[in-house]
Symmetry: C3
Subunit: 255 residues, 3 copies
């Protein structure tokens, strides 16, 4: 049994996702398919990367993680295969892999092209999966991919005693997740006090472990299960209550 996850912007009511699943099961019938999300914003490779980055490690080693976001961006598209940390990652060559891993210059990334004799998108992805399923190693699959597309992740700006951070995701509960990892925060905090300013007159200055560490309806910061700094309201919708949206900028000052 091979586990295959799907992270796509294809939508839940769309025959494309079904066609992709069918093509995979036709060539690799011993697969179990798990949707990470098919509801990524259209073309939003950053959101897709974020979703996968926070979940891929929970899957069994050997899992194949397929990302199909903005997959139709050029006449001929290279579908990349990267073997890393005992997982496989299959994604179009539009920068997703460079967002997922900072340093892949020296990895032996492989590719197949679709839009030519190799067939459609679904078949190309399915073909790669089938080759992995029968035990081929990554370097035996497809062609070596040089000069893959690189994108820069939206990074927080660190200057002196402050971090200028951005909300990168609002979840179903309205929690606002920032592009600040626990590591980055602690490197800059050095156990000093801090003030997270999310609007001209409002700030938060404590980090808790759980939503329930404060009274119902109060706001807090915490590091979420993926290690990112999150602004939340206990039993409430932080996005609505505090006026935070995807893209909102907040200032963290250590003093």
């Amino acid at each position: 049994m091979t586990f295959i996850t799907l992270t796509t912007d294809l939508g839940k009511n769309n025959y494309n996702i079904a066609s992709l699943k069918g093509a995979i099961l036709s060539l690799a019938p011993e697969s179990q398919l798990i949707d990470i999300s098919n509801e990524i914003n259209n073309f939003d490779i950053v959101e897709g990367t974020f979703m996968l980055a926070n979940s891929y490690k929970f899957f069994p080693k050997g899992t194949i993680h397929v990302i199909a976001i903005n997959s139709f961006y050029a006449q001929k598209v290279r579908i990349l295969l990267l073997q890393k940390e005992e997982y496989y990652f299959i994604a179009p060559d539009n920068g997703i892999l460079s967002l997922l891993f900072e340093n892949i210059e020296n990895d032996n990334i492989r590719y197949y092209e679709y839009g030519n004799a190799n067939g459609d998108l679904y078949t190309v992805i399915a073909k790669m999966i089938a080759e992995i399923s029968i035990g081929k190693k990554s370097p035996e699959i497809g062609i070596k991919a040089d000069n893959i597309t690189k994108k820069i992740y939206l990074k927080p700006v660190v200057s002196g005693n402050s971090i200028r951070a951005t909300v990168i995701f609002i979840d179903k509960f309205g929690n606002a997740i920032l592009n600040v990892t626990k590591d980055l925060f602690e490197q800059n905090s050095k156990d000093k006090n801090f003030k997270l300013i999310y609007s001209p007159k409002n700030s938060i200055n404590n980090i808790y472990n759980k939503y329930s560490d404060i009274p119902y309806g109060d706001e807090l910061c915490l590091f979420n299960s993926a290690g990112y700094l999150e602004i939340a309201v206990n039993m409430g919708n932080a996005s609505e209550i505090l006026g935070l949206e995807k893209g909102s900028v907040v200032q963290i000052i250590f003093e």
Copy 2:
């Protein structure tokens, strides 16, 4: 192969549900995961219970039903395991199990705690599933859970010749489902006529077997496949047409 169902409020576009699935497959790879729903209203253990109560019996005996709704309500959360009717139920200790089954005082409910050395929510749930998968019986798993949290389901008020009922769910078709089971209805009806008053000037006084027993666009009552009294409009949206919402109160009078 172990079947595992998931009923959560985590949302379809959220890495938490993927992380939970990955953790389960890592510790119990011979599992097949089936989503009952990941779109339960945030924190709404009543809706989650209703959804699971109406579907769990259709699954093969031995199925493990996981409920993860409002799972982060306290500093340390006990994850409960109940073996009942040849199924397994895993849920946080926030009242869900007491809503699902009226009498579990004498059941040997077990628990693991998360928020400490036992690891995160996903790992704790996955660990329980893995132990069940390798054949452990419920009493051999975790620690005996005394004093589990109890919640009272919103019950209809029966007085004299009437039942005061509440709409507990509106489905995708706009059907309004009441907190009245067929048993309760028949105990009070005793073959008398009835009038279900859903607005000051409007009532329904017949129960049919199928939507199609009446003309298109007409309203009716029926008992749905789960045995609950439902207000519907044949080929129409009862919620919109009749002005019924979750929480709306209707009066049933027998005469």
Copy 3:
């Protein structure tokens, strides 16, 4: 392992779809279930047919495609079984099969009825699947179904040098898909130029292979992966930008 796809209007937050899945796994535990969509518009057998028609061939031969759309339309409903092109199709007798395949008059279509001793909808479908799973051939299952319900697909009107076409689906990206196949288009085009008029003052007169063949924000026509003519905007939402909705009519003139 038997692959079973589901195309339903039951909705993602509904115990009915879970009950159906549970019933199938109870009677045919060696199944893997794949959702094509549970978000088909209520009662919309045309949308459901379109979704399945464009994806069923990608699945492994032997896959059982279950369609449960508008399944409660009569007092007693016949659930049909059609074996065709090495696939199995299970659907209520409300015209879906006749939309999916133009000529099935001479096929040996079988049925079970629900709403009587055969049990509920879920059980009837699960029973058929179980019989297929243990190797029964279609003619050995159920009863021969004569006079199945037929529906006519909305066809484009071809007259002289023009085709009057209709938008049959808007996908998540806002692409508008017409009821015009590549075959029909080419039969009428005969390599002549064409003009696709989508509003009184606007038309498109070129077909491209990929969205990216034109500048960002420009409109184009192409044949999608399912072979249907599609109106799209490169990296944009054609439905919103061009004012196209499901049911909109466009004129294609060859000259």
